[in-house]
Symmetry: C2
Subunit: 239 residues, 2 copies
DNA sequence: GCCGGTTTGTGACCCGGTTCACATCCTCTT
DNA sequence: AAGAGGATGTGAACCGGGTCACAAACCGGC
């Protein structure tokens, strides 16, 4: 992992769904205006309130998007993984960033400057379409998150979150799935907006029932079916 | 309030910020494809899961956008008022509606069919820009709502909500503001995702302190300053 | 192979908000 | 004017999760 040459950057841009179907010469121009950025684990990329002058694409690593209260609690909105694009809101409307972004682990990013992106956006209606789709997708996620917050209790929310994480970041193997140590209990707690202790106790309860296991530090789902049944309780149809 | 003729519909469309700067002939074409729809108080316009084949603009009245859990609780995301446009998510991405929409009172809507809207969208980059801005604005609101949910307790959230409602739907008069009977305690509770009783008790507490009054059925803020101070506690800078 | 920082595990206690159960009171309808 | 359906006001009991306070295990680095 390190700096990337022009053709590698082009390839990366082309891979993102956002730039699918955009004319090749335009992509080349865009790639030329792109730089890369390396972040250490825990390094912060931007903070809520900052000016939003760039769009980012994850090449390698994980970036956590979150907000904090000044009593020190944190809420994680999402974890961006390779291929994901983020930072679009402030970039598009010119207002301050709505959330913080910090690298969850050592991370390599592709950085697209605001001016470069907007000039392409102006001339490429297809890009605008993709942006709109991206925003719609994000809206749906946030709506989902919000109704979970309002309606579902901890066991249900944790079951759902684990189900999602396992698909995105784990290895599923029949009715089992391994998440390993990718996410600490503190991190899980921040995703759900609850205390670390509450997560620990729920996992302990499920562990006794044989639904999950926390052997050797890593988290393993032993009974995905039952976990998903927990998640399905009172589920508003996934839309 | 009733049906509108072509020129009135044109005027309404032109008034919405979404169609600002769109070429006149295109607007005329769009207006011609538009119909109006009258809803009674409590009438539902669409439900979560429905196909999203239209975009709506409120001409007169109020529309509540909400989701429900199957244990019967409801959470109100927003109240659309005259001039507001809604229903864009499902319209744009072609997926099912993410929320329910019901008329809060007798309401007149302008209905723009999906096909008509999309054909204009294709040829008008400026409209795409406005859509993007609308979506960004909605994202910011939802982010705000979500962090309130995660971080703020009832008094703070209620103070904030009342502050917002008073600006949007009340009459402010120096340090006082009248909301009248526009919003019942049940409706307030649904906006915050808490029980009706909790709202009642908080209002009673503030009433004793002289911050609000619930005389003659309507809600009046007697001390806007203090209310806003409550709302400002632990406020993540409004972004 | 030991030391400091992080992560996990767990119990005791507390508290905000829910749930339940009523008592008014208000407002529309007929 | 009466009655019905909402909306409001309020107390008692309960409980999910938060907070606090540790103990233990683990992990990387020198």
């Amino acid at each position: 992992m390190g700096r990337l040459d022009q053709s590698e950057r082009q390839a990366l841009i082309r891979r993102s769904f956002l730039f699918k179907d955009v004319a090749q010469p335009i992509l080349d121009r865009l790639a030329a205006l792109t730089v890369t950025k390396q972040l250490d684990r825990r390094e912060t990329l931007f903070n809520r309130g900052d000016e939003g002058d760039a769009l980012y694409a994850v090449v390698d690593g994980l970036v956590r998007i979150w907000v904090g209260s000044d009593s020190g609690k944190e809420l994680t909105f999402s974890i961006m993984e390779p291929g994901d694009v983020f930072g679009e809101i402030a970039l598009l409307d010119g207002l301050p960033r709505t959330a913080n972004a910090t690298a969850q682990e050592a991370t390599l990013l592709l950085v697209i400057q605001r001016s470069a992106f907007l000039s392409v956006l102006e001339g490429e209606p297809i890009l605008a379409r993709h942006i709109i789709e991206l925003l719609c997708e994000r809206m749906r996620r946030k709506t989902e998150l919000l109704s979970d917050f309002a309606f579902a209790d901890l066991p249900v929310r944790l079951a759902r979150k684990l189900g999602d994480l396992v698909v995105a970041h784990g290895e599923i193997d029949g009715n089992e799935a391994r998440l390993g140590k990718r996410f600490s209990q503190t991190e899980l707690a921040q995703m759900l907006g609850v205390s670390r202790e509450a997560i620990n106790k729920q996992l302990a309860a499920w562990s006794h029932k044989g639904i999950v296991s926390t052997e050797d530090g890593g988290l393993t789902i032993l009974d995905l079916g039952t976990l998903r049944a927990h998640a399905a309780v009172d589920r508003v149809d996934p839309v």
